[in-house]
């Protein structure tokens, strides 16, 4: 049992082609999960988070079906089997 980050297609190439990345350890929050992701896949992390440690404006993270913007952002708590879904927002032109 582990926390899993599910990646959108544009980021999978940066994770060796994997659609989902199981994280080592037991991250208790979304922020801790992203830190664990950075250890394993720094390039993926950099596409999700700015150099100031903020989730990019047009990237949305969901735990289950709820956006973490509504549940405390990076402090959103995780269960041992939580799934973090990374999705680009409906922006762009």
């Amino acid at each position: 049992m582990s926390v899993v980050v599910v990646l959108p297609a544009p980021l999978r190439e940066l994770a060796g082609g994997e659609a989902s990345v199981p994280l080592a350890g037991y991250p208790g929050t979304v922020g801790e999960a992203l830190a664990a992701l950075r250890t394993e896949h720094a390039a993926v992390y950099d596409r999700i988070v700015t150099e100031q440690g903020e989730v990019r404006q047009h990237v949305n993270l969901f735990v289950g079906t709820t956006s973490v913007r509504r549940t405390g952002g990076l402090d959103t708590p995780l269960e041992p089997d939580s799934e973090i879904l990374v999705l680009p927002s409906v922006s762009g032109g």
């Binding site: 190439e13 700015t50 150099e51 990237v59 680009p88 032109g93």
Partner: protein, 376 residues
Amino acid sequence: MPETPRGLQLREGDVLLMVGTTKGAFLFRSDADRKRWEMDGPHFPGEEVYALAFDRRGGRRDLWAAPASAFFGTTLRKSVDGGATWSGKDERPVRFPETSGLSLERIWQIRPGRDHEPDRLFLGVEPTCLFESADGGESWTAVAGHLEHEHRAHWTPGNGGLCLHTILPDPSSSERMLIAQSTGGVYRTDDGGATWRARNAGVRAEFLPDRYPEFGQCVHKVAHHPARPERLFLQNHWGLYRSDDWGDSWEDVADGVPSDFGFCMAVHPHDPDTVYIVPLESDGFRCTPGAQLRVYRTRDAGTSWEPMTRGLPQENAYETVLRDALDVDSLDAAGVYFGTRSGRVYASRDDGESWEALQEELPPVVCVKATVVGPA
């Protein structure tokens, strides 16, 4: 699905035209007669490419690009095989220090450094900052003298964002460089980047109560010829200027143009007094005046300007040419190239006397860079 780019087989003497759009980059190659062009692209499909460069110093044939995803940020990519492959997808070497509180939004300018410093390159980015590499682009550092400038809190973004878009190193001195940003205006260092002084005397700011402030102007582009680097030409957000003293003072040279509003500017490769611009109607209507697509050329350093029209549409042409979408190659006669927001690329191979559409129906063009392949 777009075609997969194969890259271009670049040979010595070829002309390479790099075109950045809001949906990717396109490469064009021709031999020196510039009559037939091979197109390759889109590179980085779906990503905007505001900055491109070709570095031919030290025997290199390096293509640089700065694609930016609407979602996942900006990367800096390099190709040494004509665009067949690009390195840098999994790296982000251009980063603001955490203590700055800033995050990279977009790279607006990639500038290979002086010929005698072949491993030095510069970047102009948004939010405005000058980055420097001393190892051929492997690693980058924000130039502290600019990052920590006392004016920073007063620089505000224009319509395109708060961007540093012009980098003009003095070819003979590692100590001197001029940069321009929107807004903020022109700054110059004479001590290798440690300090930067605003150099905007005589450049107006229509949008401020003080029309001639020390800094804060919305400069759109500055250009010069490396053989006469102290002579500068400036396209302002309203205003067209020349300086003969590295920006210490500016003189209005807008006599003879239909509008002094515009974005792009390029200097002829062999004549420091010949300059090309594409005026636009106004800041409220950013289209070519009279619906006529006209490149204006001066051959006397701005004393007079003449419209170049042959081969360009002269009716119903509501075009916009952005700040980095005009460039020249180094052949004689010079090739002059520009791209429009409606996705057309025009080329002249006779110093701007006549034009033809090189490519149409591209995504909106935001960057055009031309070069001749070979030693610097």
